[in-house]
């Protein structure tokens, strides 16, 4: 049985005057999944989130939540709650009063509300801090209060607008794992907007990547990383080397591509339908490039190269490799494991890769 759909976004567009912020987006969020909308700033992801929350009306298209059409329903009557980028903690209320704010018309009495607040505080790891004033909270605590305040209302969908952007790196990483665990324990659909690809990849079940108001690709993080559908997506998520070549022939699901320097390589077709002779770009992750002193054994294609620069990252080392007849160096990321051979700048090396590691990208 298929998981029921929590949110259905059908052909939604939004214009602000002449500016089209969101263009014909179709998207379905499944019940209980953690979905991230990823994209550079100004790509329309926040506008999409705000349309689901009810703060903006779509110019075209429809949004249904839990099977209910949301047109004409104000934000205060929608089964959604939001964690704001600034957290929007009410400064004149203490933690507990913030959390029960939305329960004003729930019909619960004071004791029941307090019990609910305490339960939520426990869940977000703030037990015993109900009496704290809003101004006495640290950034991480504010985020937890914002989460508790939204989740106590048991929304169909929890919307999170760049929830980590105000936290420092260490706390951010900790909160990401906590958020993931919290989502699993409450089982509510989470929709998070972020521009941080690492954040989106670490915590989401699925991600949608947006550029210029359009949804470019929706997939699980692994697929997004390993099989980006467009050059833009490939470039935005992780590091990527692009090598231009020419289609040689289609051969039952795979594609023979003629590359300069490297020669002929067989790559998965990946939906590319252009004919033989058409130009094509392949994407190659830095960690998929072999760099060795001698001609590599495990690679399908290889070429001689010269190390022009290197950058040390601790767990990995990046080599910038100049190839004959190529303007930009390609970047290879080599894991810094024990007894790994290192190369110096100016050293002649062999670089290569396997056809299965490359992804064919259609021309934009």
């Amino acid at each position: 049985m298929d998981t029921p759909i929590a949110v259905n976004i059908a052909d939604v567009s939004k214009s602000f005057g002449q500016f089209e912020a969101v263009k014909n987006v179709d998207l379905q969020l499944k019940q209980g999944e953690f979905f991230s909308l990823l994209g550079p700033s100004g790509c329309g992801k926040s506008t999409l989130l705000r349309m689901i929350a009810g703060f903006e009306d779509p110019t075209e298209g429809s949004i249904t939540i839990d099977g209910r059409e949301m047109k004409g329903i104000e934000a205060n009557h929608r089964p959604t709650n939001m964690v704001f980028q600034s957290y929007a903690i009410f400064p004149h209320l203490n933690v507990e009063e913030n959390i029960v704010f939305g329960l004003a018309r729930s019909g619960l009495n004071k004791g029941e509300k307090r019990a609910k607040a305490n339960e939520m505080l426990e869940k977000v790891g703030l037990a015993g801090l109900g009496r704290r004033g809003a101004h006495e909270l640290s950034g991480g605590q504010r985020q937890r209060v914002a989460l508790a305040r939204a989740l106590v209302l048991e929304p169909k969908v929890l919307l999170l607008d760049e929830p980590m952007s105000a936290l420092d790196k260490k706390l951010r990483e900790q909160m990401q794992m906590e958020l993931r665990a919290l989502q699993r324990s409450v089982g509510i659909t989470f929709l998070m907007v972020t521009h941080d690809q690492h954040e989106a990849m670490t915590i989401s079940d699925r991600c949608g990547v947006m550029f210029g108001g359009k949804l470019a690709q929706v997939d699980a993080p692994e697929i997004l990383y390993q099989a980006p559908r467009t050059k833009q997506v490939a470039d935005f998520i992780g590091g990527m080397n692009f090598i231009e070549g020419q289609i040689g022939a289609h051969e039952g699901g795979s594609l023979e591509i003629d590359l300069p320097v490297f020669g002929k390589v067989s790559v998965d077709e990946h939906g590319v339908s252009e004919r033989a002779g058409a130009p094509i770009t392949i994407g190659l992750r830095p960690e998929r490039i072999h760099v060795e002193k001698n001609r590599p054994e495990g690679a399908d294609v290889f070429a001689e190269a010269e190390v022009v620069d290197r950058a040390f990252y601790g767990e990995t080392i990046h080599y910038y490799l100049a190839l004959n007849g190529r303007k930009d160096p390609i970047i290879a990321s080599i894991t810094n494991f024990e007894r790994r051979e290192h190369f110096e700048i100016g050293e002649k090396v062999w670089s290569g890769f396997r056809g299965a590691a490359a992804v064919a990208l259609p021309q934009d």
């Binding site: 703060f55 104000e74 205060n76 709650n81 009410f90 004149h92 704010f101």
Partner: protein
């Protein structure tokens, strides 16, 4: 005490202000306090300690009435001004998008003419042959001009409420402007409509501005004597008018001083009550 160069510079820099405060504020207040315990003996002031002036202030119903009336009028002026100023401040803070500075500039326009002229212009508006009466007459709503518009405490309230408007609009505007707009979205997101969002978020967060406006208006209004003198008549006379009489025509400085200081004490108490009431309101809105 070791006098360093910095302390010397500091003393030198603060000397003009200190001197100013001592000569023009501390000394007159001290003198007023001293006078309030002395007695006027026809042309001379007898410098012997006595509570008699205060006894007179609190036993004579005339003075008591004047002080209570002053506080009452000031309270009404404060209430009316804040009530009328709040929507304007709200409008400028939330609905004016581009030209906020222009709006604030327009709010201050009444200050371009002198206070006295503004009071006089209300006389023109409220007089027997004034704007209001002639308008009502020509519209046929009344047959004879109303003579109840001017020379009473209501006239004082109306005139002062107009005069103080910018003093209320500005602090309330500042407190509204400071409210993070995402708080209002959060309130809506958590299920509250516009009215309850206003009562639960906007209003409590603007209380500091309201407190400021109340104090700025209430305190000088209790002691105002120009407006009651011009538009108040005998019915609208306030304590400051009596103080002026004691220092002038009646030539009883000790009684005037005792009246002035009693008024100060009453204002302080009343102001504390106003602030306390607003704090209570703030708590009840939670």
């Amino acid at each position: 005490m070791i006098v360093t160069k910095e302390t010397k510079t500091g003393l030198l820099l603060s000397a003009p202000a200190t001197l100013y405060v001592l000569l023009l504020i501390a000394a007159p207040v001290a003198l007023t306090i001293a006078y309030s315990f002395w007695t006027q003996d026809f042309v001379e002031v007898r410098r012997e300690f006595t509570w008699a002036n205060y006894a007179e202030v609190f036993s004579d119903p005339l003075y008591r009435t004047l002080i209570f009336r002053s506080v009452r009028i000031a309270a009404m002026v404060t209430f009316l001004t804040v009530l009328l100023a709040y929507p304007i401040a709200y409008y400028i803070a939330f609905n004016v998008k581009k030209s906020k500075a222009l709006w604030l500039f327009l709010v201050t326009i009444p200050f371009w003419t002198s206070y006295l002229l503004r009071v006089f212009s209300w006389k023109i508006v409220l007089a027997q042959n004034g704007v209001v009466n002639s308008a009502l007459l020509s519209l046929g709503i009344i047959d004879a001009p109303l003579d109840t518009l001017l020379y009473n405490s209501e006239a004082v309230v109306v005139t002062l409420a107009h005069a103080w408007a910018p003093f209320a609009i500005l602090p309330i505007f500042v407190s509204l402007e400071k409210i993070d707009r995402s708080l209002l979205e959060a309130s809506k997101d958590l299920g509250e409509g516009p009215v309850r969002s206003f009562l639960r978020v906007t209003l409590p967060l603007s209380i500091p501005g309201i407190v400021g406006a109340c104090l700025i208006i209430f305190i000088p209004t209790v002691g105002d004597y120009v407006t009651p003198a011009l538009v108040g008549g005998s019915d609208g006379a306030m304590v400051a008018n009596m103080i002026q009489v004691q220092f002038g025509k009646a030539n009883n400085w000790p009684l005037g001083s005792a009246l002035a200081l009693s008024a100060v004490v009453c204002v302080t108490i009343a102001a504390c009550i106003v602030v306390g009431a607003l704090k209570l309101l703030e708590r009840s809105l939670k």
